[in-house]
């Protein structure tokens, strides 16, 4: 059976199905991360002491820039397909994937440093929520990279047979990726700067 409304908008929603689907998924993600932000607030308000500027701010600032850069390359990948420039798409999607790798490598350095100095989740309330939030976010980055890597590689064959459907797939993957960027935009000040 053919999957309905992959390209044409469904009459009642005015959207192709995957776009409605990803937004509903992102709505559930807002609640998932929202619960953790609420947890953070309660833990912090109830804590007797809270670290200030003890994490590596230059490294995290660099990582923020990396993730923001990956967001613009992602949207450029989609825009390239809209302009029917497949080679440009490959370039931008490849860069998006590499930025994901860079983000994880930098985060890995940070984690490595924490582990080496004994800053483990069990040590303080702050470290517990820090590892929970950045760990969950990191898993989201890995998930996005798997999808982006597939669409850069084997999944990109669809461009030859169903270009419009493929372009929609990239838009949906992009919406997820930008959301992951958006979560980090809040995690960065909350965990590193305040």
């Amino acid at each position: 059976m053919e999957i309905p409304y992959t390209v044409d908008p469904r009459p009642d929603t005015g959207l192709f199905n995957a776009k409605m689907g990803i937004w509903l998924f992102l709505a559930s993600e807002v609640m998932l991360f929202g619960a953790l932000f609420t947890t953070y607030i309660l833990l912090r308000v109830g804590a007797t002491e809270w670290p200030h500027h003890e994490l590596d701010i230059p490294l995290a600032t660099l990582n923020t820039a990396v993730l923001i850069s990956s967001s613009i390359t992602m949207v450029m990948a989609w825009a390239s397909l809209m302009m029917k420039k497949f080679n440009r798409y490959k370039l931008y999607m490849g860069l998006t994937f590499l930025a994901g790798v860079a983000f994880l490598v930098i985060k890995g350095f940070e984690y490595g440093h924490h582990f080496a100095t004994g800053e483990l989740p069990e040590k303080t309330t702050f470290l517990a929520i820090y590892f929970t939030m950045t760990g969950l976010h990191g898993l989201h980055v890995i998930g996005g990279m798997i999808v982006n890597g597939y669409f850069w590689g084997p999944g990109s064959k669809m461009w030859k047979t169903e270009p419009e459907r493929f372009t929609n797939r990239i838009e949906v993957a992009g919406l997820y990726w930008h959301f992951v960027d958006l979560v980090w935009i809040f995690l960065f000040p909350v965990l590193y700067l305040l």
């Binding site: 509903l24 302009m83 930008h178």
Partner: protein, 101 residues
């Protein structure tokens, strides 16, 4: 028709670049502000305002919320309501004086 469409996308691309530069600049601003000697409340308010502006830029332009279908706005309004409840409820609980007596 096709070339007009392509020009349209070109215009979008220029906006994406402007948003990108703004996001990088705001990142530096929020880091710089965190080194100022603001009060705790002041620092939290400023950092959250900057983060909200950055997040809105991402959602509005990169996620195309500037021109979306009604159905998506409706779902997001519902999400915002539930998110507000989620953030608000524990705070009400915390502010309840009976618990701490």
């Amino acid at each position: 028709m096709d070339s007009a469409h392509s020009e349209d996308i070109q215009k979008h691309v220029r906006k994406y670049v402007v948003v990108f530069v703004a996001l990088l600049a705001l990142t530096l601003v929020t880091v710089a502000v965190s080194y100022l000697d603001l009060s705790k409340t002041g620092a939290i308010v400023v950092a959250l305002i900057i983060a909200t502006v950055k997040g809105s830029l991402v959602a509005t332009y990169f996620m195309h919320l500037i021109s979306e279908k009604r159905m998506i706005y409706m779902s997001l309004i519902l999400t915002a309501v539930f998110f507000a409840v989620l953030m608000g409820l524990p705070l009400f609980h915390h502010a309840d004086p009976i618990i701490y007596k």
